[in-house]
Amino acid sequence: MVMTHRFTQLFAAPHRKAFIPFFTLGDPDPGASFELICTAVEAGADAIELGFPFSDPITDGPVNQRSMQRALKAGTTYATCLELLRRIRSRYPALPIGLLLYYNLLHMRGDRAYAEFADIGIDAIVCSDLPFDESEGHMQMLAAHGLGCIQMVAPNTPGDRASKLLDHSSAFTYVISRFGTTGTNEHFDDEALRRIERLRQSTSQPFVVGFGISTVAQAQAFWQRGANGVIVGSLFSLCIENHLQSIPSVHAFIDGFISEVQGGKACQNVQDAASPTQRVVAAPSFPARNER
């Protein structure tokens, strides 16, 4: 039970703006993957979302698909993923860690999966291909092992259903930013931002926005409309793909991007002060930053 508190604590301040990078475990290989995740944490990630590679990641876009294929090709197994998680948890005891799994992986691992995750100290789990209506058993197992439940809300999820999903999320709710799969995005239309605004007005539960976010400005826009956090993943996967022969530059990119995001928060917080619905949160937001 205590473990979910890391996300609970993160979102305790209602206007805490979390930046949550996503990485495929094992991309480009297990060792490099660990190092890249550490760089992200140390650059200021407020939490991390880690994906188990799956052979056929249908709810992901091609970028994350290739990321998962690289991880699998590099020999990343389920056990490799568990080992990576142990190492990350061991290095960053306070870091909120969410997992993304295609449900078949959990299904095949069976009930012991939940115990293993709890034992490692995972905070919350989302399955992108397990909708609420099919997740009763899954939610029971999460609850039984003190693991946080993350439900997903889509752009076309009706309001009453969204409320139900928000209510059944015990860590946070994952709000899909737009129609489509994960990936990088040039531009979000106004409607995407208004959806977040409307959702914020309807609930005080914490939710984060993901899918397609790939610039600092986009992250800020979603925060500004009321998201408790944003998840950015494909941007980093694409960077790995483009620099397989020079991983140090991937580290530099991750560090640079996250530093910029976190540095921008101060300015944005000042800006936010102008908005009557937003409060200034002056202190640096990330508790894990100096943990190492």
Binding site: Q65, Y103, A154
Partner: protein
Amino acid sequence: GAHAFYGGSYVSESLVGVLAEVEAAFRTARSDPAFVQALWLVMQNFAGRETPLGYASRLSAKLGRHIYLKREDLLHGGAHKTNSTLGQLLLAKRMGKTRIIAETGAGQHGVATAMTGAALDLPVEIYMGAVDIERQQQNVRRMALFGAKVHPVEAGGATLKDAINEAMRDWITNVGSTYHCFGTAAGPYPYPSMIKYFQSVIGLESRRQLLEQTGRLPAAVYACIGGGSNAVGLYAGFEDDADVTLYGAEPAGLADGSAHHAATLTQGCVGVFHGMRSLFLQNGEGQISNTHSIAAGLDYPGVGPELAALQESGRATFVAISDMEALDAFETLSRLEGIIPAFESAHALALAIRSSLNHPPGSSHVVCLSGRGDKDLDQYGQIRGWS
């Protein structure tokens, strides 16, 4: 139903709404006489239903059993798939959808969807692996002739699984305007039930035709199993006849003990993938396997949930048929009956040749000839060293 052990609807939250929409539309359509009438009209006047149940006299003489062939190979488009694309696209039209997408492997389902879209004036876009596009130029040509846009998929192995992934992504992205036309009786609920409904005409016709011709029910019926759409369609006519054995032939591929097969029912295990809980070929961790069959239409690592349930209950018997056995049946039917079956259908035929002998001499057997083999002639020539 949605909550049986096999089946369900394991999809992204983005698709939950549209699946409910499809289910509601399907439920009202099937009980709307105007829809049923419109469907039957196109089935009859465009697709050429009803298809014959033909007596295979020379094969029957050879086996000492009466073999009847359900001639879905004579359907417009050359295979049973037209039953399903017509049903689905009429439904999509009823739902007000203005755009149809589908994925295709060797191209058969893409061609059927494109053809039906042309006839019903619905724009069609097809996802097809770049490798498959290279291998199946004729089908790409057909789709283009029908006015469909073919999107090459370069991701992954650039074959069927990757095309499915891309089509799902398109659907998630364009869920409001778009109907995803499924190729088989698999995927999330209500697709397996809906496609069973559209394909049940195979079994219902077969049953009535055999009774008309012989006054008796068959001892057994036979279908090949990829996702399973022609099988559930055939079985639909006979599943309540307890004395009729339901046989399914799935691809044993090379049958050399390797992973070069797609025998999901006999060698797969329970998983959750492509929207359904069913049997899949996968490794111990749940990574989906790459499969092999000489028949592109059977080369799929999963199977429709209804078939998994029929196996579990013991109502149906599934047997894996190797590439070579299917090839033999392909040649046998051509030589003896003047009918070139699809490689897929040749699996069902091979099983009938083998398993009908477990039934009394003089008993009747219905084989679903799901498609014609013209599409397989190049591959056959390569295998036999003709070209």
